[in-house]
Amino acid sequence: MLTTGCSLLRPEPQIVTVTNTVKTTVPIVAHPKKVQLNDVKIYVVSKENYEEFVKEYEAKNGADAYIAISVKDYENLSLNFAELRRYIEQQKQIIVYYENAVKPEEESKETK
């Protein structure tokens, strides 16, 4: 009694467990509408077809003023477009990655 007497004054502590799961819901916004590009007519002109080109061009466009681009620059333009295309594709993939990462479990399983 004397040795355990103090325990009478000190009750067994109550354990309180609180489980609170908070999952952030990020709404997925709609993607922008697709690009709408205009047609571009390309003329390849060399000594072989220069005369023919001038006649045809003038008849079609009513003038003989045009913007010329060298073959090398055309190649550079193509490579620049390829770079832009790569960037768009990769950016789109990263957006899809984040969308899948924040999607609820059931929904993301369905899309697999």
């Binding site: 009694m1 355990t4 325990s7 009478l8 009750p11 067994e12 502590p13 109550q14 354990i15 309180v16 467990t17 489980t19 799961t21 709609a30 993607h31 922008p32 509408k33 697709k34 690009v35 709408q36 590009l37 047609d39 571009v40 007519k41 390309i42 003329y43 390849v44 002109v45 060399s46 000594k47 072989e48 077809n49 073959v71 090398k72 055309y74 190649e75 333009l77 193509s78 490579l79 477009f81 390829a82 770079e83 295309r85 790569r86 768009i88 594709e89 990769q90 789109k92 993939q93 990263i94 899809v96 990655y97 899948n100 990462a101 479990e105 993301s108 899309t111």
Partner: protein, 143 residues
Amino acid sequence: MFSSIRIALILVLLAGAGGAVLYVKKLQSDLETARANVAKMEVAVQTSENSLKLVQAETLKLAELNKNLSADLQKAEQYGDELRATLQKHNLTHLANKKPGLIEKRMQNATNKLWDDLESITDPNANNGMQSTETGTADSNSN
């Protein structure tokens, strides 16, 4: 004299017995609380284990998504690589000099295809996977 001592002894015994009863009751109460605590701890451990499983599942999911993303990012490089290879393979200046009509047609087709591809990859209604790059630079003089 003796009766006073007896009374005192009886009182001490009664007090002792009363104290013992109270002590046992306290022990029983503590035992109940301890049992309840054990049950709660078991629930807490279970919750922790479930949380850990959830974290592990999330980690696996993110690893899988990361793997897919890396593959898709790599795939997006394909068009540019193919185009560079095509441009290195052919001497466009020479071909344009010799066969301007043929090259014009091919450049026009490749350019039209590029516009179509750009419209397709930016279409939100298209599927999420990247569009095929297989035909991206199939034309030997593509844009």
